[in-house]
Amino acid sequence: MRNPLSKKVVNLEPSGIRKFFDVVNEMKDAISLGVGEPDFDTPWRIREEGIYTLEQGRTFYTSNAGLKELKIEIAKYTKERMKVDYDPDKEVLVTVGGSEAIDIMFRAMLDEGDEVLIPQPSFVSYLPCAVMADGVPVVIPLKNENEFKLTAEELEAAVTPKSKILVMPFPNNPTGAIMTKEDLQPIVDLVIRHDLYVLSDEIYAELSYKGDHVSIASFPGMRERTIMINGFSKSFAMTGWRLGYACGPEEIIEQMTKVHQYAIMCAPTNSQYAAVEGLRNCRGEVAKMRDEYDRRRRFLVHEFKRMGLECFEPYGAFYIFPSIREFGMTSEEFANRLLEEEKVAVVPGTAFGACGEGFLRISYAYSLEDLKEAIGRLERFVERLRK
């Protein structure tokens, strides 16, 4: 028989972490700090709207780019929160989660050999999606001493004449890093000077704890070279509804819509109606969830300091990224032993790029009680190691 498989796919990094994930997910009695999704239920108004639309029989396809009402609400929201104006008819595309938006943006914009600049540690999808779209991923390893922000020097050093897209994954999963207006300005200057496009992944934008999130698309000259990706998973606690969106210049959104149309048809109708309700009437709940994450964040930063685990103070998402270099183990060894000995699941930093070695991703999408229990076990483990 012929080889049934594509070399491109077979050669994709078989996410080393998959194995670890499988082991953990089998351990039913483990407690976890490893989840990348909110612990809150989707606000009831949104769920109730979902139920209602099912009762009403709104179960047909929507137009490819998404429900008109939803696109209008997205444009309004984006103008208000991100200070960027998009035409809901031509510059907004509703996708199956932020992940789909990443995939189709690369497919719509890359030709063979185009380079995609990917700061890491970052979400696991950028690199494989770039490869599947025939792009060449160029990893920019971020540094703990810069609090895992992207610096102009790092970007400058990675740019080549083939660089086309820069991924800006802030607020960041897994580090919790954010980039402020002042941090972004030198990056913006370079992006414009080198004529780059930007994939701005703002899925955690609502979870910023040091003033409002600033979108790179809001800088002069950036709107036309940025695709802003966002979604409902994190801010509205809607992960399972699979709903995201991309906003950007018509020329690009039009081509992305084409890919989306052939691959997906349209995002789930039920989720789209529910999201309209979310944007119209659930912003208060979003703020409440943010306040709760913020309290837990401060609590964890305090606990890590007390334990003497080195980590910078993260101001975004719901992750904290402590260093475990003092123990002389790899992140995966540490995570495996912590799981075995104390039954606590955390994600090794290396799941998000090689430069995550020596770090752990700890999620605080857990109740305070759960966090206390898990931190207590982690502390016991750390103390044993230090003896």
């Binding site: 306040d291 609590f299 994600v347 799941a351 998000f352």
Partner: protein, 165 residues
């Protein structure tokens, strides 16, 4: 943090968890324990914080606590409006709440008692004879699904995977 902001943050938290440990709350709000303790004491003095209660499921505790909602129609009194009549009612210790209501009746009285007889006695012997009271309608609560923002019936929490990217 501004004083007003601190107060708001404290209230938002203790509204649902009055047993919060002050040291822990200080960490979570990014301030210090003394500030939190002072603000709470101030707010108690100013009657912004009016009390600390415990939400009890008396059914589970094995007691047959009865809660009645009584709609009361009242003739307002010259110069005093509804206040005087409300005062007469709320001073009874078995009355747990009295609200002035817009719409078809005037006062909503919530009464907790241990027996049906006790509640009906209260209505017929204490409430109805009050001259300004024109009529009452008593409703008994059969089941508390949600009380003070807390869902009182058992709920199953959906399970998340243990790790996800």
């Amino acid at each position: 943090m501004e004083n007003k902001e601190t107060r708001r943050a404290i209230l938002n938290y203790i509204e649902r968890n009055s047993k919060a440990n002050l040291g822990e709350l200080a960490i979570m709000l990014g301030t210090d324990e003394i500030t939190i303790a002072n603000e709470i004491a101030e707010m108690e003095k100013e009657k912004i914080i009016c009390g600390y209660h415990t939400l009890i499921d008396w059914d589970k505790a094995g007691s047959d606590m009865i809660t009645a909602l009584i709609e009361v129609r009242v003739t307002p009194q010259r110069d005093r409006g509804f206040d005087r009549i409300a005062e007469r009612i709320y001073n009874f210790p078995e009355v747990t709440a009295v609200y002035l209501i817009s719409g078809g009746y005037d006062l909503m009285v919530i009464l907790e008692g241990w027996t049906l007889k006790g509640v009906s006695q209260f209505v017929s012997e204490k409430l109805s004879p009050i001259e300004a009271i024109m009529s009452t309608a008593t409703h008994f609560i059969l089941k508390k699904y949600k009380d003070h923002g807390t869902i009182m019936v058992p709920q199953k929490k959906a399970e998340r995977m243990l790790v996800t990217p």
